[in-house]
């Protein structure tokens, strides 16, 4: 070993030590940064906060940590070391909840939805960019065609998901979310009769099963055609019906009473007239605030009987004491070009409900807390309260202002959408007075 090699070995060694130390340090720094990101407190300050569960808070602060809301208060300073989002002059509200959406965020829905979710679905990204942070998603379309049992259509393939763009881990909240029926309109009376018959059979099956359990014997076999009806009667989740008129609403309510399951009414139109029945049944309603409603004829006999313009119906159901969730005019995201007619403008549909007589507060509730309640996830989301998930929006204006855009969307406390960084609305300027 010559002196030359010896001289070269030491510096080389030192250099590699330094480099590896640097490398480890930077790795370590990255780790701590990651930890910071995860465990640090985040805060929004200076905003007009609409918690939904309480009154508006001006110059408000919202703080959260580990994905859960810590506090909502006026003029509160952000805690030490918190990551602050300045929202001076802006609005903050809970992420919107779409009570029914079709085909959004799903790559395949055969069998179940959880295994077929697509966190990079463009429609999901667009829905998130417009404030929707949670939705109940059904395979498209859920009207007609599951052929589960002869002429009756229905199923349970439904899931509540969060729109955690790019992140499969946070997406599925629960599945199945609801059972649903969509009865073919042809021979509708017969179909309701058949439905009743099926429920009878399901009830008999449940009785037999309970008996077997008591005797510690094996449970009787459940035929696949009866599975859905047994599931409805077991009532571990509600069941959506789509009655076309008040007569059918009566049928559905009587079925739910007789067989003891929780129903949800999808587009019950003028059932607000049956306020007493609805209140007694405590059944949530999903209502559109827009037409065209081809039944709604301003000069026909139905109109004279008190049929109401579609825009007024959501408010009418509120007055009747129902828990109202707003449905968008179309339940998916469309890129065809018609603006303001789908999930991307859910807040505008809520604004139309205000046009029809609802208060601003109720309208905002109808796209946040009420759908969360209907979906039975209101313990976790739907309003800005301590302990609930940090699913919230920073908006350029009041959420019911048609000009407002979502500037930032947080889900489980993590920033999933930033208008400035996203391509989606880059060509659309922010307009309007605040």
């Amino acid at each position: 070993m010559t002196s030359r090699t010896r001289n070269h070995r030491m510096p080389a060694l030192l250099l590699s030590l330094v480099l590896s130390a640097f490398f480890c340090a930077s790795l370590g720094a990255e780790e701590t940064r990651e930890k910071e990101k995860k465990s640090a407190v985040q805060a929004i300050v200076g905003a007009t906060v609409l918690p939904v569960s309480g009154p508006m808070v001006r110059r408000g602060t919202v703080t959260w940590k580990d994905g859960k809301i810590l506090e909502v208060a006026a003029e509160l300073a952000a805690p030490e070391g918190a990551r602050v989002h300045d929202a001076e002059g802006l609005y903050v509200c809970p992420g919107f909840v779409a009570v029914v959406a079709m085909g959004v965020g799903i790559e395949t829905s055969s069998g179940n939805i959880g295994n077929g979710l697509d966190p990079w679905d463009r429609e999901l990204t667009i829905a998130l960019a417009n404030g929707i942070t949670t939705m109940q998603v059904l395979p498209a379309p859920f009207f007609g065609g599951f052929g589960q049992d002869g002429p009756l259509y229905g199923g349970s393939n439904s899931a509540v998901i969060k729109l955690t763009q790019g992140d499969l881990g946070g997406m599925l909240v629960k599945e199945p979310a609801m059972n649903y029926f969509s009865l073919p309109r042809r021979q509708i009376e017969l179909n309701y009769f058949l439905l009743r018959e099926r429920f009878k059979q399901a009830k008999a099956y449940l009785a037999k099963r309970a008996e077997a359990r008591a005797k510690k014997a094996t449970a009787p076999k459940l035929s696949s055609s009866l599975k859905l009806y047994v599931a409805v009667l077991e009532n571990t989740r509600p069941t959506i019906f789509s009655p076309a008129n008040n007569h059918e609403v009566k049928i559905v309510l009587s079925l739910s009473r007789e067989y003891g399951f929780d129903a949800v009414l999808n587009e019950p139109k003028d059932a607000w007239m049956m306020a007493a029945d609805l209140a007694a049944a405590n059944v949530p309603v999903l209502v559109k605030s827009r037409g065209p409603d081809f039944d709604f004829n301003t000069t026909g006999p139905l109109f004279e009987k008190g049929q109401m313009a579609p825009v007024r119906r959501p408010a009418a159901f509120v007055r009747a004491g129902c828990q109202v969730s707003i449905l968008p005019y179309r339940r998916g995201i469309s890129l065809a070009g018609l603006a303001g007619r789908d999930l991307a403008t859910l807040h505008v549909d809520a604004a139309f409900a205000v046009r029809g007589g609802m208060s601003n507060e109720d309208a905002l509730k109808a796209i946040t807390l009420n759908p969360a309640r209907t979906l039975r996830v209101d313990d976790r989301l739907g309003s800005l309260e301590k302990g609930k998930d940090a699913d919230l929006l920073i908006l350029s204006g009041h959420p019911l202002d048609y000009r407002s855009f979502v500037l930032k969307a947080f889900i489980n406390g993590k920033l999933y959408y930033d208008r400035e960084k996203s391509r989606i609305y880059r060509e659309i300027p922010l307009t309007g007075d605040k």
């Binding site: 069998g111 077929g116 979710l117 697509d118």
Partner: protein, 467 residues
């Protein structure tokens, strides 16, 4: 003394024999294929030899002995004694190309799409299927494989769309004299091809096959451990008994039983090892093909929950940057990526990205398969690679993607994919830099034998393999 008559006969016979001995080599040389006979050394002198992707092309002499590469000497070096010298003036000599995933030459083969971005259809279990068993030597395609520039193919069984698609066999092009498909095979089972997609049927199949394999391994381990524990305890107890004072009976001290594991039995008849179990035990390579971003998310969600994991080569289609990022984070699990040489489009936009370049910049090795899994598709590979180079893949990365990287991922990096000592003499000669687009494939050699020649001056039709 023999009669002179017979002596003359003898002499005549001896003379004939002598003539025959002289003539025979010449005869053989004329009649036999223009290949080096056993023991022969051939020295190929060319202006540009690329020994391995990443090395500069340099003039040199490629020494081939017995179908293997002995060395690559510098241009002016002395050729070995007795070597036949073949001049390849103006030729650019590359290692023969390697396709790590092809369905070519299968029994029901029809022209097919590129194998990298095929959709998985149904989650079936084809672990017993081996590429070798569906080779059909009567099929013309085996001889024509040689005229593509590719000299090594990893062929997978025909339906590659299941959850466990099958085992890939690595083959070479046919020289025409083979009687059994096995003669083409370099490696019978180089890797197991797996696939995954989104949806409940795939998830359930994943539980049924993958999770079950893991559970079986763990059960076996647990049983083994238990048996070892039991044996150890028995040995301990025996020891204790031996150390206790005798009770007075005139019994000889009991011999402690040999510490044999209780489960030890005479070896059962040899079972064919389950390739999936081998993958989990790290004894066999695995390729996993997953096409869409959602399917990738579901695969990793499933995979992360398995108690035993394995490293694998990922086969996938073009992906947008955020997906590439997600995959780069799994560098420890994903050892290389197989892609088609084409741009990916970010969905709902007209923005194209070069997925391969994104992977390569992050240090992930990339192997390419042709866009069309046909003879012509393979011949066109360099056009496609040139397009990759145009959008940011470095030339040596493009070349490595069809030589050294695919050779490594199928486990034959020592034999093919580069012109290194001891490797097979598989090489292809082009008339200029193959990435230039105008390059013409001049000849292809497989294990030292010329399987293709395209020389306009001899009037041979382009594309005919010669015998």
């Amino acid at each position: 003394m023999r009669l002179k008559m017979y002596q003359d006969q003898d002499n005549r016979q001896r003379g004939r024999a002598r003539i025959a001995r002289l003539l025979l080599p010449a005869l053989l040389a004329v009649l036999s294929p223009t290949a080096a006979a056993a023991g022969d050394v051939v020295a190929y002198r060319a202006g540009k030899i690329i020994r391995s992707a990443g090395e500069a092309a340099a003039p040199g002499v490629l020494i081939v002995r017995d179908g293997k590469i002995e060395d690559v000497l510098a241009a002016g070096a002395k050729t070995p004694e007795g070597a036949k010298v073949v001049e390849l003036p103006g030729a650019v000599v590359l290692p023969g190309l390697v396709n790590p995933l092809s369905g070519i030459s299968q029994v029901n083969f029809t022209s097919g799409p590129g194998r990298a971005s095929q959709s998985n259809s149904s989650p079936t279990d084809g672990r017993k299927a081996v590429g070798l068993s569906s080779l059909n030597l009567k099929h013309e395609v085996y001889r024509r494989l040689g005229r593509t520039g590719y000299t090594t193919f990893a062929v997978v069984p025909n339906d590659t769309r299941g959850l466990i698609a099958g085992q890939a066999s690595v083959i070479r092009p046919a020289l025409g004299k083979e009687k059994e498909p096995g003669e083409l095979v370099l490696e019978k089972s180089a890797y197991l091809l797996l696939g995954f997609s989104s949806g409940k049927t795939w998830y359930d199949a994943g539980l049924r096959y993958l999770k079950k394999a893991v559970d079986d391994i763990l059960k076996e381990k647990a049983a083994k451990k238990k048996a070892e524990e039991a044996a150890r305890k028995k040995a301990e107890e025996a020891k204790k008994k031996a150390s206790q004072p005798s009770t007075g009976e005139k019994k000889p001290a009991p011999v402690p039983p040999a510490a044999k594991p209780a489960a030890a039995k005479p070896p059962a008849k040899p079972k064919v090892p389950d390739p999936l179990v081998q993958v989990f035990k790290g004894e066999k390579k695995a390729f996993v093909r997953v096409k869409s971003p959602a399917a990738l998310a579901h695969f990793f969600a499933f995979f992360d929950k398995l108690p035993i994991k394995f490293q694998f080569v990922l086969v996938t289609g073009p992906q947008p940057p955020e997906i590439v990022e997600m995959l780069i984070e799994r560098r420890k699990q994903i050892t290389a990526v197989i892609l088609e040489p084409r741009m990916g489009r970010i969905p709902e936009t007209s923005i194209y990205v070069n997925t391969a370049r994104l992977f390569l910049r992050s240090g992930m090795p990339v192997a390419f398969v042709p866009l069309r899994d046909t003879i012509d598709g393979h011949r066109e590979i360099f056009f496609q690679l040139a397009a990759m180079v145009k959008s940011g893949v470095l030339p040596h990365e493009a070349l490595a993607g069809v030589t050294s990287v695919p050779a490594d991922v199928v486990g034959l990096g020592a034999k093919v994919g580069s012109l290194k000592k001891g490797g097979l003499a598989n090489f292809a000669c082009y008339d200029r830099d193959p990435l230039s687009g105008a390059a013409r494939l001049l000849s292809v050699y497989v294990e030292g034998r010329k399987v293709f020649e395209d020389d306009p001056s001899t009037g041979k039709l382009s594309g005919e393999a010669i015998r």
